[in-house]
Symmetry: D2
Subunit: 383 residues, 4 copies
């Protein structure tokens, strides 16, 4: 299999998510980081490149330089795709520039700051025919893919209700706010119109749509700010989906002691399922007058029910997988899609199973709608 | 300790909750069932009395007969209190009649069908000075009492948010509806204005108010009926409490495979707690940069933090207690209050720790408000 | 159903297990405590009787007085059975005397101090035809009964291996030793040849034999005393059962922080099961290439697989039951057996499902064998 | 940081553990696989190299060829270390040859087939001064490192007892035996004197010694073969450690439905801890009259107590890590040790925190002793 060349914008020294991107992309051995504008300070970008063993000529000070530099190389030497791991506010301009220069893009979320930007990016992706991925990590977990495939196969019967919770606690105290990642998240200038909903609410909404295969059609929100001077750091959302499914989404960043406790329950006429991110190798299945079932990652019966889950499994049952592997699964499918297209083949549905620009558009519309609903005193707002 | 004499209205052959009342009341050995109008069919009432070893003369056909019969006895032979375990629609008239005849009352919930009836009952209780208890079972669990006392002691710091979920699945299919208890629950005539919210939503709301020590001030609801022809069998509620606390309450009776999965999370500035009814001996405590703690029933450190929990503990740590004991705790405090008052003593706060007529009034207002909110398309309604 | 009259030896003020016996016996309303030699100090016995509302004439100072006193009553007024909740050393003489006087007996475990006494008691029970029960609590749990019935039905295939652990921590420090129950447990004079194995090891062995339906044929033990001057407070035992099943049993009373954490795993060719006393409403079922199943108490599918479990269930699924109910189940079956025999009927297998004098004999042989094995330096000793 | 060059023996197409080695070694980006004798069939080795993007000249047919080929390169181009992932029987000769040729070695376990070979390898490692690592995966988990550091810091007080269980089920049926890895495991010729004890019992023993910091001094075993014609596929072991600590180790490969359920409990005078491999991000801490604590990976309080755990943590709390990361931690420390020695620096204790040739020697002695004990009818055998 062809080893793809990866470039990065962001992901400099000390950046948590940039290092996760690298570990995930490289996990299966078919991606190499060969270029990067890792930091807006050129010396720091160079230093990160040195740490990573990258040719100093390909350690750029800005994304614009990187685009120019890579385009100056012979086509076969250029990066095959660029990963964007910068603060939220820059996702859109960087992604736009990369796409317009002809590079495939893997982008951190939220994709943009406004729904208009999101729409524009979607048009660009469509026009260029390039591959665009978005890092909604949690749909990368194999047991989430199993959940989706169970719903799709009708195992749950007609869906009735979805509850999704996403409590975190790391922004619970002003004094504890960490310099880099916390500061920009809570600042409207770099984070857009929402903090909690933009940062984690969108993950929860994306998870609900992914698993159910249904779109959220309207929302009603009660956002709150417990620590003054911030954007929202908490929110509660009622929502309606297609086909009469109702739902509730709660997210908080000020739940003292909560780590990253994303949980989803999907209720159907025949079966219900529950999946909890902090226990990601299990999927719980409930039904009328039957024992509760715990489907466990890595078993043949899982792969049989869900080829998407089976394909995204690296270790056998009982040898747990976790966050990095979920992340790596998106890179796996994203890069397999690029490879297929490079060979002029149509990517399969399994290869295309990673969050797309459409997910990004929906995420921005979700944020926009919940912010609008809350501002109006909690009224239903259509998406 | 004086053994109190208990009378029952309802609780005939095959009635689940009536038998629970008896087991709970008798658990500590200081209550005896000596009279009952167990069934509206006199022969069946007599038969239940026979099964229970009760004097046939005190097995009545109606609650009116029971009141007359008991009043005809010398005061020291009369029942000390009457437990009402009939379908919802009759709670109010029976309770009213018992109180007005001078009997203390333990009543199943919901207390009445309307807020007006609730207010009237509250007036009667106040006027008569009698002891009135309401069976919101879940606040009887010792670890719920511990949670309340932790909040009260300030261990959680200023409260921020409460999430409470109450999924059940037993009404999830029409065909499976059980003859007695399911039929009247889903029928407006016997259940009032709400099924799901009246039956279990009020438990969840009561739990949130009990643990937090705060009142819900306004609600916004999205109720639903998944099986046609019924009252609501599902509902999602946003709420606001005193002191700026926000919350979310979800309840469903159509969550396939869910049993009785009441769960509550309370988030404060300093600590957060979680309690799950199906795992009732544990209370989870989270905080910033500290290990998660599982406080376990029956230990000295629990009784020290919460005398109310310590008092309501019968077996040592590791010898689990459960639903019946929680139920019995309400009877224990209710009957201790009656004994104190019979001795002309002021009941202590610990003795008074059982759901009261005020809880019943609040429950009815909660139901009324959520039904109104949902009918108006999910708007905020004050309680 | 006839209300049986219960007498007690032991169970005075402050005695934990005596109160458990009373609560359990009375739980279903068909047993009344009417007599007792609650304490060797007559005044204290009288006081306990007063607390319980018992006729002072039937509050005796010694078990001998009780036997005489009850025999002096007309047969229909006498106690139907006597429960023995005294320190270990007295179980045998009291049980013997009660049986020889014609009374049915429910006895705390261990049944006797020696295997010879156990054999003698077995002969007396056989000779008199009286009903004798032994309080190995844990086989009273419905999910343990389900486990037994699964094994019996062949669901696990041929059994291979059993692991049973019973860690407690309450005797982990000398300073913390509680006056009454801890003192006699660790003293050879009142506890026999073993503390840890006698007190909790026998429970674990009994559980293994009950669930598997197989007898332990030989043991190899490594007992230990971590706090000097005591009998064993810890022990590890390898064992062999009938039909080639192997096993391991560990028990400790000095496992810091452990409460009452009895756990059992049974491995068969086709299925494996796990049951954990601190989570008693669940039974875990594992098998090759299938989701793990959690069978949950109170559901129709449980009662269908195991009528013994169904019969011993008081509250619906999701309304947990626990230790007292398990205890009560033994009383239920024990008293139903007495009632059947009083009516000259042969008790059914379901009624006879409580620990018997045979279980007591086996328990004593188990203790004797593990003590002998350990003394000889851990050699195989036949039972 | 210098990127180290890795060679492999074994790890060809379809080999589970070889791919795990590669993912783990490469995880942090400082190791590249540049050479390999991946398969004894040269064409298959070449094909695996092609898949991995390795220079065909460095895809060798045998380990002897690889050693010759690498030695023929200039020293700075040669592999920095060689990972051995072949069937058990070949570990010793390959490791010996690599070390004698001057290459650092990371070896799968068990290290050798006999204790004599183990002793010889230890002598060679000592003589050459090369770095030798052994893949006892489970001590790579950060929460196991935390456990070790808690014990070392005296948090548990004097240790009393260790229980370690390692149930698997994948060899539970003959028909299901997988062609490659199952066949040689159960065959004495390729697996040595033990299957279950050699394959997983040694992991459990190693874990007990690592966490406690104590050596097992004698064992008493009852091994068994449930599926005829095999070496042991099950075993139960009593053991004694230094300082009077007692223990029990059980392992099985025929526990129907068990995946990889390694569990350890360590009991001390003051605290007890429990760690379960299938839930690897948590460490449970129990103590007298205190809430149970769940220490959770990724938190500052964990890194403070255990720098070894902190150093081996890649994602923040709540973003779970798992098996691959544990594996990668051994590679991280192993390669950091190599780097230090290449720079003529003394590796730190944190860098040296990976399983060594001494662990391998102890593992072989453990296997030898338990096999001898069991053959003699379960007698104590000194290690």
């Amino acid at each position: 299999m062809k080893i793809l060349k990866m470039g990065m914008v962001g992901g400099g020294i000390g950046a948590f998510i940039g290092e996760v991107h690298r570990k995930a992309a490289r996990m299966d051995g078919y991606v190499q980081v060969v270029a990067g504008a890792f930091d807006i300070v050129p010396e720091r970008s160079l230093e990160q490149g040195r740490i990573l063993g990258i040719d100093p000529k390909r350690c750029y000070g800005t994304y614009q330089e990187m685009i120019r530099g890579e385009l100056a190389l012979p086509p076969e030497e250029r990066v095959d795709f660029i990963s964007i791991c910068t603060p939220n506010v820059t996702h859109f301009p960087v992604a736009k520039a990369c796409l317009e220069a002809g590079f495939n893009v893997m982008c951190e979320k939220p994709m943009t700051m406004t729904t208009e930007q999101a729409d524009e990016l979607q048009r660009i992706v469509k026009k260029t025919g390039l591959t665009f991925g978005l890092l909604h990590t949690y749909t990368g977990y194999p047991m989430v893919k199993l959940a989706k495939d169970m719903v799709k196969a009708g195992d749950l019967g007609k869906l009735r209700k979805i509850e999704v919770r996403y409590p975190q606690g790391w922004l619970g105290r002003l004094a504890k706010v960490k310099p880099i990642s916390a500061a920009w998240r809570t600042d409207p200038k770099s984070s857009g119109s929402s903090c909690c909903m933009g940062d984690i609410g969108t993950h929860a909404a994306n998870l609900a749509e992914y698993v159910s295969g249904l779109k959220i059609t309207e929302v009603l929100a009660d956002l709150g700010t417990y620590l003054k001077g911030r954007l929202d750091d908490d929110g509660n959302v009622l929502f309606h989906m297609q086909k009469g499914v109702k739902g509730v989404l709660t997210a908080t960043q000020v739940g003292s002691g909560e780590e990253n406790n994303l949980q989803i329950w999907v209720y159907g006429e025949d079966r219900s399922i529950g999946w909890f991110q902090q226990d990601p190798n299990d999927l719980r299945v409930l039904g009328d007058n039957m024992p509760e079932q715990i489907w466990k990652r890595g078993n043949p019966y899982v792969a049989e029910k869900s080829p998407a889950a089976g394909r995204c499994t690296r270790t056998p049952a009982g040898h747990p997988e976790a966050f990095l592997e979920a992340f790596a699964n998106h890179y796996k499918n994203f890069t397999d899609t690029i490879r297929a297209r490079q060979l002029k083949k149509k990517p399969t549905a399994l290869e295309l199973d990673f969050p797309s620009v459409e997910d990004g558009v929906r995420g921005m519309k979700f944020i926009s709608a919940v912010v609008a609903s809350s501002k109006k005193g909690s009224v239903w707002v259509k998406i």
